[in-house]
């Protein structure tokens, strides 16, 4: 789709502008720099959102380079970043491949909900159950922002089953899920498509042509199916043209991705039928696909009235511009637009228009009355909700709601204080435990792994000789008399020489002079002991003796 945008933009530049993309001098607005500051502010916009926000379009090479950096994932595939974060995508139902994300880390589980549709006519349904078990939800579906719907007093919410349930305070996930998945919305969408098709049909019957510059792939695919069905059922022989540089590839692609489609489409795979009807229709030459409006095949095949699907919805770029100019004075022809920001502005260059215009809005997110039950099903501890939607709906399902708005950083309170560590039991059973006054302690062993957001302590691949257990940390102070006894048990004899400097201190500090079996010195002080000997064996025996009289780990 980005390539298509680049190619139609290129075409536009061939007609109207410099072909060389590097010479976009004018876009730096050097002329504006010399304007007085007040004027400049008006021209650039307060936050540079007017002329100041203009940017050159990326190139085909940029698209390729960018896509090379993208790691693709399947739905519910785990991508582990740095061993710490497990990132997963779940279908959102809006379009083929659209998704919501979950990020699981050692300290918090986050779900991000974008515009989602519960039951889709083509793409895999909104998998909201996959988003369960996350303590923080970022709600980011702004599709209802421009609607006039309002949910402030919950009066419009008239599902008696669910509301009585809410008062019972009974949490019944299955029931909520069933009510969310009631496919009244998708029925409504299908009806809309049927209505569009009948309008189109009326136009072609009257001898006019139909122009559809809608860019939503799923809607285009469904319209293709329904429209050709309708045309087939009549005696009218009206061709359907698709004009786009990427249409052929896109149509071929939509037929090899059963894993990304809704249940009904997947059933087609299992019964050996093509996933979308356009495969058959292209073969039967009912749908014709052309890369550009000036393709030779198009010119030789062209036949009116006809139905044309082509970009771009802005009506400023692509084949639609030519066709709109051609048909705008024909009162029998029909233009089908998705209602957007300002249709008036979009149609301005083509006025006065005799052509009929049909504006339709399609479902493009979670409807307001489904937000509350959805959050009830997901049970987040913490909810981040857009400030802009606050006046539309009152949320009561989350423990804490924090409202967010653009360009504002929020700090979330931490949910878990300490990090958990998972110790393999086969390793733990080899630990050398030591009982102190209140607690049992042991030094850890093995190797610590950070994997799938979990700290795991596993037995490492160590050589056998390092298995020898030696306390590395000691505390307290040794009793010299006991030390001498322990030494003599080992067959080591020595005499105690009181150290004059520390004679006054209570703790026994001093030097033990060993002469059997070898010469050695043990210099015991308050904070440490030094073993001085030339014999490895003796050194280790003395260490053992000190270890016995001291506490160590």
């Amino acid at each position: 789709m980005m390539e298509d945008l680049v190619s139609i933009h290129m075409e536009l530049r061939q007609f109207y502008g410099p072909e060389d993309s590097s010479s976009l001098q004018w876009m730096r607005w050097e002329g504006l720099e010399v304007l007085p500051s007040e004027l400049k502010k008006i021209a650039l916009g307060a936050d540079c959102e007017e002329l100041g926000a203009w940017m050159p379009l990326y190139s085909a090479v940029d698209v390729k380079d960018c896509m090379r950096k993208v790691q693709t994932l399947k739905y519910a595939e785990e991508a582990c970043y740095n061993g710490t974060l497990v990132i997963k995508a779940f279908s959102s139902g809006l379009e083929i491949g659209t998704c919501n994300w979950t990020i699981n880390g050692p300290k918090r589980n986050i779900a991000y909900i974008s515009s989602s549709i519960f039951v889709s006519t083509h793409a895999m349904d909104f998998n909201f159950l996959g988003l369960q078990g996350n303590d923080l939800i970022i709600f980011s579906d702004f599709s209802t922002l421009d609607t006039t719907e309002n949910m402030e007093n919950d009066n419009t919410y008239c599902d008696p089953a669910a509301s009585s349930n809410a008062s019972d305070d009974l949490y019944n996930l299955e029931e909520i899920a069933a009510s969310l998945l009631k496919d009244d919305e998708s029925m409504e969408e299908m009806e809309k498509l049927a209505f569009i098709c009948t309008c189109a049909f009326d136009s072609v019957r009257a001898g006019g042509s139909v122009l559809v510059p809608i860019d939503r792939l799923g809607i285009v695919l469904c319209l293709l199916e329904q429209m050709s069905l309708l045309l087939e059922s009549s005696s009218l022989k009206v061709p359907i043209y698709i004009i786009s540089s990427v249409a052929e590839e896109l149509l071929a692609f939509t037929n090899i991705i059963p894993e990304w489609l809704c249940k009904q489409r997947q059933e087609k795979l299992f019964s050996g039928e093509p996933l979308f009807a356009h495969v058959k229709l292209i073969k039967e030459r009912k749908i014709h696909v052309f890369p550009a409006v000036h393709s030779v095949e198009l010119l030789t095949n062209w036949q009116e009235p006809c139905v044309v699907f082509c970009p771009h919805w802005s009506l400023r770029l692509g084949p639609v511009v030519h066709l709109l100019r051609y048909w705008c004075s024909d009162p029998n022809s029909l233009l089908i637009l998705e209602s957007g920001d300002d249709a008036n502005l979009a149609l301005l260059p083509f006025k006065p228009m005799a052509m009929k215009v049909l504006q339709c809005s399609f479902l493009s997110g979670i409807s307001l009355q489904k937000v509350q039950p959805l959050l009830k099903a997901l049970q987040p501890k913490l909810l981040l909700f857009p400030k802009d939607l606050r006046c539309k709906i009152q949320i009561s399902e989350a423990n804490t709601i924090i409202h967010y708005s653009e360009n504002e950083t929020l700090c979330m309170p931490s949910s878990k204080e300490s990090t958990e560590i998972y110790i393999a039991t086969d390793l733990a059973s080899q630990f050398h435990w030591k009982t102190l006054k209140q607690e049992t302690v042991t030094r850890l062993d093995g190797e610590l792994f950070m994997d799938q957001g979990k700290h795991r302590l596993l037995s490492g691949f160590r050589q056998a000789d390092s298995k020898q257990h030696r306390p590395l940390l000691h505390w307290g102070s040794p009793d010299l008399k006991r030390l001498l006894t322990e030494l003599s048990k080992m067959g080591i004899t020595g005499t105690l020489k009181k150290n004059m400097d520390s004679a006054e201190s209570k703790n026994a500090a001093g030097i033990i002079d060993i002469d059997d079996p070898e010469k050695a010195l043990i210099d015991v002080r308050e904070t440490g002991t030094v073993i001085i000997t030339a014999d490895e064996n003796l050194a280790s025996h003395i260490f053992k003796a000190i270890d016995i009289v001291l506490d160590g780990i």
Partner: protein, 642 residues
């Protein structure tokens, strides 16, 4: 806790793959296949071993099928529709799409052989409705505790290895797989996983194969020679998999050689299958995938449907006929007609199950085959055995086992003596406990569990900083390609003692806690008592001329010279430890050594200076962690001369 594996099929044999694994209270059946070599009750796994009273829904959590070959899925409709299992069944999208074709084709052929039909067309359709399709790498939550995931296995389209995890225990069941890409599929791919158990196929437990291209050429030459001489080529295959692979191969060859000899598919089945293949092109190899928009590789130009009337039509042709291995049905019908002529050719796959005609043709060169007591077939045609196979070879199996490094491995789907050889190799070369159980045996292995503890921030932070120790150790490395030769190699080993700085504290009634050793004493309210070793001793000097007159008055420059000389000696002789030259001091881990100029050094045991000016005293101290290293350094120092 343990993992129990009950082998219901493919134990020490190939056929009716079926393994029931109990793992942390969940019970999963992997594959539900049939044996092509039997027509009696031995054809299906003995399901009564799963549940005496036939309540399979409670006895099993789910069934997972790896791919659509009959020896992996053939008993599934029987198990669900006749035995009554109603629980969830998982398989990949292509398997779900193509399995009914395989089953239906088999059922029809069995009809013709006049056997008891064990399941009907409706059974197949009802059975497939229970199947939940999965995508590769998609993590499926079967229930609260059981997670499964499919990985690409090559072998046939949609074939998958399955990973299953319950709590802390995890395992992989490979099904059949191929570690090298073929004409239409990629090689098996899997993540590095922490596994308690790997159950792997071992069809080619001892074979090592070279490149497949030479073998493909052999096949093409045999086919070309036969059709050039006007002969007919019979390729008995199952409807899916091998048929498409060979067809891509032939199609390509036909184009290149500009051949016009017709290629037929029997009964239109494979042509219908190609429709599925076209939609499932994402599951094929990268090379084929890339061409989907312009030309779908499964749009065969030279392929036609075969009609029974063409069997005795004159002229050469190539025919793909089902079922494979000439088990019966149409391929047998054609074989009976074509086998008596020496002009004709029959190609057989690398592996045929014992008991099939294919197996008989491959073992020796029979001139006559007795079909039953009344029918005898004269065999004069040429036989070509395909020597490329969609199964991994022994090297591939070893590579996979080594890569996954599971705690235990179980071999299935192979021949008993070869499996025993492979088992020995896995145990001796990889040090992994390995089993090859027979049918209806149960193998029990222990599984991993974890205990949870809270870790302090200090410990976690200290673990973020690497604390590597490098050492060279020599070990005997047995190369598994040639296990007789072993050579000693010296290699750098890296150890990291981060974890050992942690201390686990368990207090009654409180959650276990891991803290850093520095925090530990503070917690106890005690003071550290450090135990050190020290030793000050003389070292021989070779020449003292260039140093100042006596060792008593060494200036700092001379000390540095001595230390750097010592450093050189140590770095030559010491294989481990990181030697740091700090000017007047040398440090190896906690071992410190410096030139001692004090006659009254408390670390000296005898103050008498032997050999006077020819030696100089070095004072060393170290802590217990580096005890071994310290004594090694001291012995090096005592035995060398500066």
């Amino acid at each position: 806790m343990a993992i129990d594996c009950l082998v219901l099929g493919a134990g020490q044999e190939v056929g009716k793959s079926c393994m029931v694994v109990s793992i942390n209270g969940k019970r999963i059946m992997f594959d539900c296949g049939m044996h092509m070599g039997y027509t009696d009750s031995r054809r299906y796994p003995d399901f009564s071993l799963i549940s005496k009273n036939g309540d399979f829904d409670n006895a099993l959590t789910c069934v997972i099928v790896t791919h659509f070959h009959l020896d992996h899925i053939g008993a599934l409709p029987y198990f669900t529709e006749v035995c009554g299992y109603k629980g969830p069944i998982y398989m990949t999208y292509p398997t779900k799409a193509l399995a009914p074709l395989m089953l239906e084709d088999y059922r029809k052929n069995m009809d013709r052989r006049g056997e008891d039909e064990q399941f009907t067309s409706d059974h197949i359709a009802e059975c497939m409705k229970k199947v939940i399709p999965v995508d590769l790498k998609q993590t499926v939550q079967v229930d609260k505790d059981l997670q499964i995931r499919a990985y690409y296995a090559g072998h046939v389209i949609g074939a998958a290895m399955f990973y299953a995890k319950v709590g802390d225990a995890a395992m992989v069941y490979t099904g059949d797989y191929n570690m090298t890409p073929d004409r239409h599929l990629g090689a098996a791919q899997i993540d590095r996983l922490q596994l308690d158990l790997l159950i792997t196929e071992s069809t080619y437990a001892t074979t090592i194969r070279d490149s497949r291209y030479g073998r493909e050429r052999e096949f093409l030459k045999a086919v070309h020679n036969c059709v050039a001489a006007g002969g007919k080529v019979l390729i008995p295959t199952f409807a899916l998999g091998r048929a498409q692979e060979l067809c891509i191969l032939l199609e390509d060859y036909w184009e290149r050689m500009n051949l016009k000899v017709p290629i037929y598919f029997s009964a239109g089945l494979t042509i219908q299958a190609n429709m599925y293949y076209k939609m499932l092109i994402n599951w094929t190899s990268q090379k084929i995938k890339e061409t989907y928009a312009t030309h779908n590789a499964f749009d065969f130009k030279n392929v036609r449907n075969f009609d029974r009337s063409l069997i005795n039509a004159p002229g050469p042709c190539v025919l793909f006929a089902t079922p494979g291995m000439i088990v019966g049905g149409f391929s047998l019908e054609v074989f009976m007609q074509w086998a008596p002529s020496e002009n004709n050719l029959v190609t057989l796959p690398g592996y045929c199950v014992a008991g099939t005609i294919g197996h008989k043709l491959m073992s020796g060169k029979p001139t006559k085959i007795d079909l039953d007591k009344d029918t005898q077939i004269n065999v004069r045609c040429q036989i070509h055995q395909l020597s490329f196979s969609p199964h991994t070879d022994a090297k591939g199996i070893m590579d996979l086992v080594k890569f996954l490094s599971p705690k235990h491995a179980i071999l299935v789907h192979g021949e008993k003596p070869k499996m025993a050889t492979l088992k020995e190799r896995i145990q001796s070369e990889l040090g992994i406990q390995c089993y090859c159980p027979a049918n209806n045996e149960t193998v029990t292995i222990p599984s991993t569990h974890y205990v949870k503890a809270d870790a302090s921030g200090t410990f976690i932070r200290s673990c973020l900083n690497p604390n590597f120790k490098f050492s060279t150790c020599s070990s005997t490395d047995k190369s598994y390609l040639d296990s007789n030769k072993s050579k000693a190699v010296s290699r750098l080993s890296v150890s990291d003692d981060r974890a050992t700085e942690g201390i686990l504290v368990v207090e009654k009634g409180k959650k276990a806690k891991v803290i850093h050793q520095d925090e530990f004493l503070h917690m106890l309210g005690e003071k550290k008592h450090e135990i050190q070793f020290a030793y000050c001793f003389p070292m021989h000097m070779a020449r003292t001329e260039d140093l100042s007159s006596t060792s008593h008055m060494l200036c700092s420059f001379d000390k540095c010279t001595l230390i750097s000389r010592l450093s050189m000696i140590l770095s030559d002789e010491l294989s481990e430890g990181n030697i740091l030259d700090l000017g007047e001091e040398l440090q190896v881990e906690s071992f410190h050594v410096s030139v001692c100029s004090s006659d009254n050094c408390p670390h000296r045991l005898s103050s008498s200076l032997q050999n006077g000016s020819e030696s100089v005293f070095f004072c060393c101290h170290w802590s217990v962690a580096d005890e071994k290293l310290a004594w090694k350094i001291i012995s090096i120092m005592k035995n060398s001369t500066l």
